[in-house]
């Protein structure tokens, strides 16, 4: 299991702020995880469409599509940040 967190616009579009998920074993990096989440359709497909500016953090450090993840990791998806 991994913990997925959603913030800001993504949290509102998906209607949840977090979930426990069990992607298939062959899904081992962020690019594959996003593809798997897109297959849920609707808001997932729209918000995570290729080219949309989605940021990902693995265990609270910024990640790229090539970043691997493992069982027990905390993976957060969010739009580009707008603080300050």
């Amino acid at each position: 299991m991994i913990t997925l967190l959603y913030f800001a616009r993504l949290r509102e579009s998906f209607g949840i702020s977090s979930e426990q998920a069990a992607p298939p074993a062959e899904i081992a990096d962020i690019g594959a995880l996003l593809e798997w989440l897109r297959s849920r359709g609707d808001a997932w497909q729209n918000e995570l469409a290729p080219g949309k500016p989605v940021r990902v953090a693995v265990n609270q450090a910024m990640a790229t599509n090539a970043t691997p993840f493992a069982e027990g990791d905390e993976i957060a998806l969010f739009p580009p940040v707008t603080g300050g």
Binding site: A57, Q60, F78, G83
Partner: protein, 149 residues
């Protein structure tokens, strides 16, 4: 030091504490970000700030650590507010101290430029047309990238 809080902050008190009893400090630079009542031609009546607890503090501490690698700064303070804010409210305080002004000015601006693009905060504005998430600005990315030159 890094703090994320709902409460307002007293700039004078924070600065006094930051430089207290340290006679090696010859310069103190300070930036305060404020809520405006206008964004992209729409009036803004209220703003809410969301963040990623845990990662926010780590990201801000990392930005301060990066600034310390570049400049000799005595101390740095970052306070960022979350929750509901109104026009004229203070949002963020960055203060840095050093022996001379260049290090203080530069590190303060560096921390702010990185905060704008790296720290996980998101703003949602309440306007006459309804609520909307604030879009990231390309000019903020440009401001950060110039430090890599």
């Amino acid at each position: 030091m890094v703090r994320v809080q709902n409460e307002d902050f007293d700039v004078g008190a924070e600065i006094a504490e930051l430089r207290r009893d340290n006679a090696r400090i010859g310069a103190l630079a300070c930036f305060v970000g404020l809520v405006r009542d206008l964004n992209e031609d729409d009036s803004v009546s209220e703003m809410s700030l969301e963040h990623y607890p845990g990662m926010t503090e780590k990201a801000l501490a990392e930005i301060v650590a990066q600034a310390r690698l570049r400049w000799e700064i005595a101390d740095a303070l970052v306070i960022h507010r979350i929750g509901t804010l109104k026009p004229t409210d203070q949002i963020v305080l960055v203060a840095t101290t050093s022996a001379h002004r260049h290090e203080a000015f530069a590190s303060c601006e560096f921390i702010m430029d990185y905060l704008k693009t790296q720290a996980p905060f998101w703003k949602k504005e309440q306007t006459a047309q309804g609520a909307r998430w604030v879009d990231a600005r390309e000019s903020d990315d440009t401001a950060r990238q110039r430090w890599n030159a």
